[in-house]
Amino acid sequence: MSEITMEITLTVNSEKITKTVPVRQHLVDFLRMELGLTGSHLGCEHGVCGACSIRVNNAVVRGCLMLAVQADGADVVTVEGLTETKEIEDLQKNFVERNAMQCGYCTPGMLVTAAELLRTTKPISRDDIRNHLSGNFCRCTGYHAIIDAVETTINNRLKGR
């Protein structure tokens, strides 16, 4: 049995891409294996750990639960794209300064998920930050430093820094 494939056209990190993909390939396998975008990670491939979090049409999704063919026509942004546009430069800097990661495997997913909070116009409590990130598993940090880094970034943005 040969692989059933399909051609898809989508935008990934502002670049238009057309590729033929196996219909059963999930979106993160596609990004990693076909496009070499290895920033998105796989921790469970069943939608629990959040390591695969990416942005699709401006919403954060679990890339392991979406097939590449479902992204036909979509606008996909990964941690590499967020880095290039500098959209979360401050958050990334605070992650580094606060050492909000150890092994770094959860980090791209955490950043993509935390980025959603940065548009807030009101202060966000630590508990609310914790709840927002509660679908992203980190085995290393114990979360405290991650919450610190996100909180600092939000507060600085609110202060206009």
Partner: protein, 795 residues
């Protein structure tokens, strides 16, 4: 240079040691530029998938691989028997240091019989993982189910089947130690408390699963393995010996490692199989465990039952403790580190903070038809501490003494070292009293008690827990590994070099999995030599590049690798000063190195730069007098001498709220005071403690690998095996007492496991404090809402 001068190098104003510096790996991680094993994709890479035993115990009657072999894209299908023919022999997971220990020979994939659900039976190697999995479906294996042994309590009963009949029984190991006279002390005591504690099976759940990419070059017989490992040299030795490849032809590279926690100090049959496939095919072959495979094949840990007894005088003085451990291993003892360390460590450390001198501990480790167990972060400590600290709390309560005061009465005094613990282990440079008083201040203990009482009046049940601990870090060569006969180094090494540019390369045998080991070694090197941190580059995790070492396990990286690095940097500094002295015609004792420049002592004006020394030392050697042949490189090794471990100590505090109607536990606050000796990078040390605590809290509250009576793992997904997430975890307050260890000049002890070691104990004590007025008591972990409600007699 005298010792004083050397130490002063690290303590100078603005020293890099003791300072927060950020990690290069962090800068890569935030940009999505981490490079983990699965990110490495050489051309022509094939992918391995495994047919695994669906049964806990079964005879393999026949295997038909024909359809799989014919499947398009399949390069190789290999059975356990074919694989064992490529191996030098089966593994036997025993160490001679564990007297009387026995284990059955284990093939990397099952031959004739599978002994746990998940044991690999057939490997399929194909053009992609998906195709390999398709072909796995086409392999047909006929099994005959055999009776399973899943209950550790029953495992030695006469009517229970013996998993490996050649061993005579299901006993892996037993050991008893006794110091003083427990029976006498117990019979003379005013109060004796007895209790039984149970601990569920856990597994490491590194977010990056096990991963290995093997590349064999048939032209040169060289084997290169990229793998998510903590111990490259151990992997080199084990894989080379198992597959009959000369060790020096094997290069192990550990790229970025996505979490390890002890899981990645081990070797696994599926990884050997993957490597064998690369040897056979002459192509790169990759194996990345999926999450189901991780649960069903990564080492498990912690499954123990401990009966404990404490004897005290009515004034609250502990006179004796004794424990009896039954430890549930898997179907084989894990090679080469064994499955008995956990039980042995419980025996070593239970009641370890206290000054009593009567102690008896017995342990029996039994085989079960489950995943093999072995070392997982803080081996044995969460169990030993939970047992010891719960008994201490119960004794305090029976005496009517506050738990803090009770510990004040009983901990080893800070001025009493060196001394021997009740378990017969040498202890030095500990600080139980200082840690306890610091914790009391940090927690604001008295007002917390007042607050607790106020909440009780409102019908809100809050509890305060205290748990003192010791932690064995950085094992020495006289104890277990080298002496036990395994190719696992307890020494570690560092090579530092001055490059022609004036830059410093620092190559270390210890490895980084995100702790910041490389940053710490860079800080030690830069501070010792006297050069800007930016001019130091640390290389780790590549057996072709670094001197031989044990890697990172048992909180040894800074304690052992840090001292090797410090000594190597001192030697290089000395050579640099000799060359500078010759060039400048100056007395080397009058010279110093500051900020990458050789200066007159006490001055900051550069007389010659390290870059100049580098240039002259490599290219312009004729400028030097004949007796100087510049090496500009130094290697040092460090090992402990007689000590079993460098013991550390500390204490944790917890504040929790228990909903007595639902059994839910809310973690309100958590404190840790610990003594890891000299702190090199305070932020990194704090984060080790915090991450470690949460890992311990997960085990105490949520995590358990649940088996049914047929040996089937019931919850092998991340949705079913609960891990701690951000929403449930508290902020964690960390403080350090810094009692330098006397065994090294650097003075650092291990820090990576202190959080994990005592967090379960402290939260269990806090929960029990909360529910004590209701007559409830928890002695089993994980402390699920069901367990709480049962303890309260509500269900």
């Amino acid at each position: 240079m005298g010792k004083e001068t050397q130490i002063n190098l690290l303590d100078r104003p603005n020293s890099y040691v003791g300072r927060i510096l950020s990690r290069d790996a962090a800068k890569r991680a935030v940009a999505g530029r981490g490079r983990y094993t699965d990110d490495i994709m050489p051309h022509r890479t094939l992918h391995a998938a495994f047919v695994r035993s669906p049964y806990g115990h079964a005879k393999i009657l026949s295997i038909d691989i024909k359809a799989a072999q014919e499947h398009p894209g399949v390069a190789l299908v290999m059975t356990g028997e074919e694989l064992s023919e490529m191996c030098t022999g089966p593994w036997v997971g025993t160490l001679v240091c564990f007297e009387g220990m026995k284990s059955a020979p284990q093939n990397p994939m099952a031959v004739d019989r599978a002994c746990w659900q998940g044991e690999p039976v057939v490997m399929v190697v194909a053009s992609s993982r998906a195709v390999a999995e398709d072909a796995c479906e086409l392999v047909s294996v006929h099994y005959e189910e055999l009776p399973v042994v899943v209950d550790k309590e029953a495992a030695l009963d006469p009517e229970i089947p013996i998993i490996h009949p050649e061993l005579g029984d299901n006993l892996a190991f037993e050991k008893t130690i006794e110091t003083g006279d427990v029976e006498k002390a117990t019979s003379e005591a005013d109060i004796v408390i007895e209790d039984t504690f149970t601990f569920g099976r856990h597994t490491a759940v590194s977010l990056e699963p096990r991963a290995l990419l093997a590349e064999f070059d048939p032209g040169t017989d060289r084997l290169t393995i990229h793998t998510s490992s903590q111990c490259p040299h151990m992997i080199q030795a084990v894989f080379a010996r198992t597959l009959g490849v000369p060790e020096h032809n094997v290069r192990i590279v550990a790229p970025d490692v996505g979490g390890s926690f002890g899981l990645k100090i081990h070797t696994f049959g599926d990884e050997v199989a993957t490597t064998a496939a690369s040897i056979k095919l002459g192509r790169p072959v990759k194996f990345i465990a999926d999450r189901l495979e991780s649960f069903a094949t990564d080492i498990h840990a912690r499954e123990n039952r401990v009966k404990g007894r404490i004897a005290v005088t009515k004034d609250g003085i502990i006179t004796s403790m004794d424990i009896d451990i039954r430890s549930g291993a898997g179907a084989y003892s894990q090679y080469p580190r064994t499955s008995v360390f956990e039980a042995n460590q419980i025996l070593n450390i239970t009641g370890g903070p206290y000054a009593h001198q009567n102690y008896r501990a017995t342990t029996q480790v039994v085989y079960l038809n489950k995943v093999p167990t072995s070392q997982y972060r803080a081996v044995g400590h969460p169990i030993g501490n939970s047992v010891g600290e719960s008994l201490v709390d119960q004794a305090a309560d029976a005496c009517g003494i506050d738990p803090v005061e009770f510990r004040r009465l009983n901990v080893m005094r800070d001025d009493s070292y060196p001394r021997t613990s009740a378990a017969g282990i040498e202890m030095q440079d500990l600080s139980h009293q200082k840690c306890l008083e610091t914790l009391v201040a940090e927690m604001n203990y008295d007002s917390l008690r007042t607050e607790q009482a106020a909440y009780r009046k409102k019908g809100i049940q809050r509890g305060i827990g205290i748990a003192a601990f010791i932690k064995g870090t950085a094992p020495g060569p006289s104890g277990y590994y080298g002496a036990g006969g395994a190719p696992i180094a307890t020494q570690d090494a560092c090579t530092v070099k001055l490059e022609p540019s004036g830059g410093i390369l620092c190559m270390v045998g210890v490895t980084d999995q995100g702790q910041g080991v490389d940053t710490v070694m860079g800080q030690i090197t830069a501070a010792t030599i006297g050069t800007p941190i930016d001019s130091v580059r640390v290389i780790e995790g590549d057996t072709d590049a670094v001197p031989y070492g044990g890697g990172t396990y048992a909180s040894r990286a800074t304690a052992i690798g840090g001292e090797a690095t410090y000594q190597a940097a001192l030697s290089l500094r000395k050579e640099i000063l000799e060359i500078a002295g010759a060039l400048l015609q100056a007395d080397i004792d009058a010279l110093d190195i500051v900020n990458g420049n050789i200066v007159n002592k006490g001055d900051t004006v550069s007389r010659i730069s390290l870059a100049e020394i580098g240039r002259i030392g490599h290219f312009q050697v004729s400028e030097l007098p004949n007796h100087i042949q510049p090496v500009l490189s130094a290697t040092h090794r460090f090992r402990l001498r007689d000590a079993l471990y460098i013991f550390t100590n500390g204490i944790q505090g917890a504040y929790v709220e228990v909903d007595i109607d639902t059994g839910f536990i809310k973690l309100l606050n958590h404190w840790v005071v610990e003594d890891c000796g000299r702190v090199i990078n305070p932020q990194l040390a704090d984060e080790q403690v915090r991450g470690g605590c949460v890992q311990g809290l997960g085990g105490a509250l949520y995590e358990e690998c649940v088996y049914d009576s047929a040996g089937q793992l019931q919850n092998a997904t991340l949705a079913d095996y609960l891990t701690p997430m951000a929403g449930e975890m508290p902020d964690i307050n960390v403080s350090h007492i810094q009692t330098h260890t006397g065994v090294s000049e650097l003075g650092a002890k291990g820090v990576g496991e202190s959080g994990t070691g005592a967090a379960p104990a402290v939260v269990m004590n806090a929960v029990n404090d909360a529910i004590r007025p209701f007559g409830g008591k928890i002695t089993s972990q994980p402390m699920s809402p069901t367990i709480i409600l049962e303890a309260l007699g509500k269900i």
